[in-house]
Subunit: 418 residues, 2 copies
């Protein structure tokens, strides 16, 4: 089964809103073994929308449309759907009730504009919207499925999860082709080195597919296996993953939707350890990432963003002479910062960072991109030097990633040598 | 002139990479008064790519293709271009030299795979790649322009800015239609209230267009003016912007690509003020946003992520009795935090935040989403209470935005009452 996603809205074409809906839907369909053949974005223009509908419908089994269902004059998706299926708009009492109840809940009067959202294409089965007023549509025609949802991510996602994905999986039951993917997440190793260390790929994969997806934080390895038997496909996928782990396991921090900060948080929690963080160049971003996870107060004690030298001395007890002799961006300072934050917080681990993210601040010996990460626990204090590029915000992300990866390796006792 | 953007790559279809390239290109084309009619994403599959080329070429004056130009077997865009234009691949000596020089610079041997990247479609004018090995193509045919670039954002953006956009602007010189847009950025006011306060839109716009683009951090107002005279269009745009500012100016923090943290940083710098920040629930994200801007060390002194009560007492000198009596999430605590961070840092301003972002931590009196922001300077200490939703990461962003907006209004002396 193949699918096309049609996203509607001027704001997507002119680059004001990034089309995260299509990415999210693409991911969910892929997980459900449905092949996404194309994504099309068109603006709020009826002839362009109808052209997109025609093309999508003629080439695919499943068409998923989002956007343009709001109550204002810009929103013309509903009328285009009615035109495309040559059907009329009828009042749906259930939808009208949902809208009235929703407004009553918020103590707001129902306007005519909102009531009109209960007019829906006659051929459509309604997808209820629990998070907004515009309903979605599920239309069956010529053995194909045409689905329409609002563009508001929260509304669309709830409809997909509660109604659309279960419905599509039901359709797929008679289909005999299975496709499964796994994503192995690596960091701290260049793509070419990873490639070398994996050895003979044909032998490893035996017909399965492996894609290398590098970005500036690491390389993601996407394994794709397909076949007629669901269990066999799952077993093959698992087997390939284990082979990859046996070859490059030390660089693998997680899988699929995991994040490095989430993985590190889990490790800290499992070991019943508490951490505190002293940051200079990353300006709070390491603490920010660690605290993105619910329950992080179990293992994150405190953070200090010691941007000025005064803060390094006054809060973290870094020796003024160290700053004078070696500078704020140095092995010596970052190790004192790690020791200092550990001591003042009484945490098991102190993690510290200092660097020059650019574009200004470079010296002859320390170019933009120079970063030191320091680590202290009850048994050891050490640091590592990194060299990143010249883009400030990218460097911030890379420095944060490097610090979290250093922490992960320290927790797991993985060596830092290649 | 109309354009279509064709993005190529399986990773875009299955949701592993979000198509930020198309957004960026869409924005640049719109700025150059070129109408983006459609964006199409297809995978690494030759029949789907060729179908997308045909459709794009038949409906538009400008076609911009990105992705699939790498050296491996997955990358088939070049062959599809040659097929589509019925041309052959020829060795381009300039490209070969670029590749050789690039590898020499990094002291790496040139492989056959890399040398083959110097084979280019015969009909193409080459766009040099200063940041990678794959060249881009500019192809003129039937009064249309067909442009192909690598999918690596850094390589694509440099080619667009150095070569493609100047070339397209040259083409446009004879075109007599101008389109200009401005984006007015508001926060802290609901879309419906903003709508009411703007009054009669027909009168305000006189034929221009105004779009309301809400997200959870605020509402963006996009004004679009078009016409035959470039100066007239610019004047009309400016006039509408000034009218909007006169009606809802206090809610407007910036324009176009500005960020709230950038605006606040500029205000601090202009006034020669230094700030320090004490964060609990946002976990360092306020400091992180402030320090995203180069030169922030001029006005940002330090931050403390006082996640535990111990950190609030030990570093910020919050009274233990205050925490016991009112709790960590309270007006009293957040005001003591603001006063405390200001005192220990010697900064002009102390900003503090404490809240419950969820999903856990709620009490009967303080549901998930309850956040207090505190402010202290030499003349005043005050705080404000906010109520956000139930999504932890969204709440983190909203709480950060609310704190920065409170700071902006305090700096400008704008009242907080509606």
């Amino acid at each position: 089964m193949t699918a096309e996603i049609v996203s509607i809205g001027d704001e997507l074409l002119i680059g004001q809103v990034i089309n995260t809906n299509a990415s999210w839907i693409g991911e969910k369909l892929t997980e459900a073994s449905i092949t996404v053949r194309r994504v099309t974005i068109v603006g709020d223009n009826d002839s362009n929308i109808l052209e997109a509908f025609r093309s999508a419908f003629s080439h695919n089994d499943i068409i998923i449309v989002t956007g343009g269902l709001g109550p204002t004059h810009d929103d013309i998706t509903r009328d285009c759907v009615a035109t495309f299926f040559d059907t009329s708009l009828v009042l749906n009492i259930l939808v009208l009730n949902d809208i009235k109840e929703r407004f009553a809940r918020f103590n707001r009067p129902v306007t005519k504009l909102n009531e009109d959202q209960a007019l829906v294409p006659e051929c459509a089965q309604i997808i209820r919207n629990m998070n907004g007023t515009a309903p979605g549509y599920w239309i069956n025609k010529e053995n194909k499925v045409f689905i329409v949802m609002p563009g508001v991510p929260r509304e669309m996602k709830a409809m997909m999860e509660d109604f659309v994905l279960p419905g599509l999986k039901e359709l797929k039951r008679d289909d005999t082709h299975y496709l499964k993917q796994a994503n192995i997440l690596t960091t701290g190793i260049p793509e070419s080195t990873l490639f070398e260390k994996l050895g003979n790929l044909d032998e490893l994969l035996e017909g399965a597919k492996l894609a290398f997806l590098p970005n500036y934080l690491g390389v993601r390895l996407r394994i794709t296996v397909s076949g007629q038997e669901e269990n066999e496909v799952a077993d093959r996928l698992n087997e390939i993953e284990q082979k990859i782990r046996s070859r490059v396991g030390r660089y693998i921090y997680g899988k699929d939707a995991e994040t490095l900060s989430g993985v590190v948080g889990r490790l800290l929690k499992e070991r019943n350890l508490r951490i505190s963080v002293a940051e200079s160049c990353t300006g709070g971003n390491i603490a920010n990432e660690i605290t993105n996870h619910s329950g992080s107060s179990d293992y994150f004690e405190r953070g200090v963003v010691a941007y000025s030298n005064a803060a390094k001395v006054e809060i973290l007890n870094v020796d003024e002479d160290t700053l004078l002799e070696y500078g704020a961006v140095s092995k010596q300072t970052v190790e004192e910062m790690a020791r200092g934050i550990r001591a003042i917080s009484g945490s098991d681990i102190g993690l510290a960072i200092s660097g020059i993210l650019g574009p200004t601040g470079a010296t002859n010996e320390k170019p933009v991109g120079t970063v030191y990460v320091g680590y202290a626990d009850s048994g050891q204090v050490f640091s590592k030097e990194f060299h990143f590029g010249d883009d400030r915000l990218v460097n911030k992300q890379r420095a944060t990633q490097a610090a979290l990866e250093l922490l992960r390796r320290a927790l797991l006792g993985i060596s830092f040598e290649p």
